[in-house]
């Protein structure tokens, strides 16, 4: 049964020129060409996009939630990466 199923694809849509492609959802298709067309028919029926990326879901590698603390929390105490960390006089303009 399951071997008859077309593979799953993740769909990314650029909603307008100048913006990033953003994950829109997923769908089934037999090949990449069909996946792009299906994405056009399924996810851009209301002018939601100007460009489409598809990638077969099995090729998406994701970080594990188990690693969340070691991945993301170390950034918490690196406030010096943010411009607001630096205390400068208000008179200073254009910076």
């Amino acid at each position: 049964m399951a071997e008859n199923q077309w593979p799953l694809w993740e769909v990314f849509i650029r909603s307008k020129q100048g913006l990033d492609h953003k994950h829109a959802g997923s769908l089934h298709a037999a090949d990449a060409q069909m996946a792009i067309e299906n994405a056009r028919d399924v996810y851009t029926r209301r002018m939601e996009g100007v460009s489409i990326w598809v990638v077969e879901s099995k090729y998406v590698h994701a970080s594990s939630p188990d690693d969340a603390t070691s991945f993301y929390e170390p950034a918490n105490d690196k406030v010096y990466r943010h411009p607001t960390f630096y205390d400068l006089p208000d008179e200073l303009k254009h910076m």
Binding site: M1, A2, N4, Q5, W6, L8, G25, S26, L27, H28, A30, D31, M34, V42, R45, R46, A62, S64, P65, D66, D67, A68, T69, S70
Partner: protein
């Protein structure tokens, strides 16, 4: 530091999970979740997906008979949206590890349920209006709160669905409004459709709260945000006002404004009918399911051919 969930007790994990939900932090596919949460979600989401695609049938029934070109185009677009909604929901369910083929199998064998409302027949054009106004109206009432469901992919699918759904109810009401201003025959059609769709729509919210044992758990998990009776009351209150614009009546002699409750009182629901339709004794249960099974079975060779062609092309590419 790596938090190894394998070293944590189930109780600890459940506590972390529930804390997240209480703090309105969404659960995402790879996060740990209790088995019962996963199973309940798969059931709820796939049932919803099934309802969308079975729900295409009663309306598709009138596409070829739509009375104007504008109505025809709108109806196709609407039924097509329902296919899209089914697709979004199947895709969201797949993030929980249940493939679409497996879910369809459950639908086709009768193991999975779908909304009973679609087991009622569409007998006249006015039914397209009544479905849009009442059935979609009830569905929206159920669905809007789910845009804040605790499971991320579900909530995101619902956001997309609700955005698209907003035209459905309006087009339905517009159909009825036009009929209500039309000839005697059209007005009769309009009232008849409201008469037939009213009670099944009221039943769409499911059993009364005291007969709905899973509600408390689902509300704690935030995959259900209001009780059946709360939503039903809200629906009745809104429709009781809207029907006045149509100059039609709701087929319930007990429907009365209750000043004290600040709500409409309404008559008793025929739960006997409800459970019978759920169990398969509705007017169209067999036809609806048969139509889905037929589409799937007759599509098998198409899906196989596309797979075979894709494989052949891959092979050719590898050789080149």
């Amino acid at each position: 530091m790596r938090v190894n969930i394998h070293h944590m007790s189930v109780q600890d994990l459940e506590k972390i999970f529930q804390d997240k939900i209480d703090a309105d932090i969404r659960i995402e596919p790879k996060d740990w979740m209790p088995d019962a949460y996963r199973k309940t979600l798969i059931r709820q989401m796939s049932q919803h997906a099934h309802s969308e695609i079975v729900g295409m049938l009663p309306e598709a029934n009138w596409i070829t008979r739509a009375p104007t070109l504008r109505r025809k185009a709108t109806l196709i677009a609407k039924v097509q949206d329902e296919a899209g909604h089914g697709l979004y929901l199947y895709a969201a369910t797949e993030t929980l590890g249940a493939g679409r083929e497996e879910l369809l199998e459950q639908l086709h064998t009768g193991k999975a349920k779908y909304s009973s409302i679609f087991n009622y027949p569409t007998l006249t054009w006015a039914d397209m209006g009544a479905i849009g106004w009442l059935v979609d109206g009830a569905a929206i009432m159920n669905q809007v709160p789910l845009c804040r469901a605790s499971y991320g992919p579900y909530a995101r699918a619902m956001v997309r669905i609700c955005k698209e759904e907003s035209f459905h109810q309006r087009q339905g009401f517009e159909i009825l409004l036009t009929l209500s201003k039309g000839s005697a025959g059209q007005r009769r059609m309009c009232q008849d459709a409201i008469d037939r769709w009213w009670w099944p729509s009221v039943m769409m919210f499911g059993p009364n709260d005291d007969a709905s044992p899973h509600t408390a758990q689902s509300m704690q998990w935030k995959i259900k945000r209001f009780s059946n009776d709360e939503l039903r009351q809200r629906f009745v209150d809104i429709c009781a006002e809207q029907v006045k614009i149509l100059g039609m009546t709701i087929p319930d002699p007990d429907l009365k404004w209750n000043e004290q409750r600040q709500h409409y009182d309404f008559g008793a629901i025929d739960w006997d009918e409800f459970w019978n339709v759920v169990k398969g004794n509705g007017p169209c249960n067999k036809e609806r399911l048969a139509a889905r099974v037929r589409a799937h079975e007759e599509g098998a060779w198409v899906r196989e051919a596309a797979t075979a062609h894709a494989e052949k092309r891959e092979l050719k590419k590898d050789r080149a």
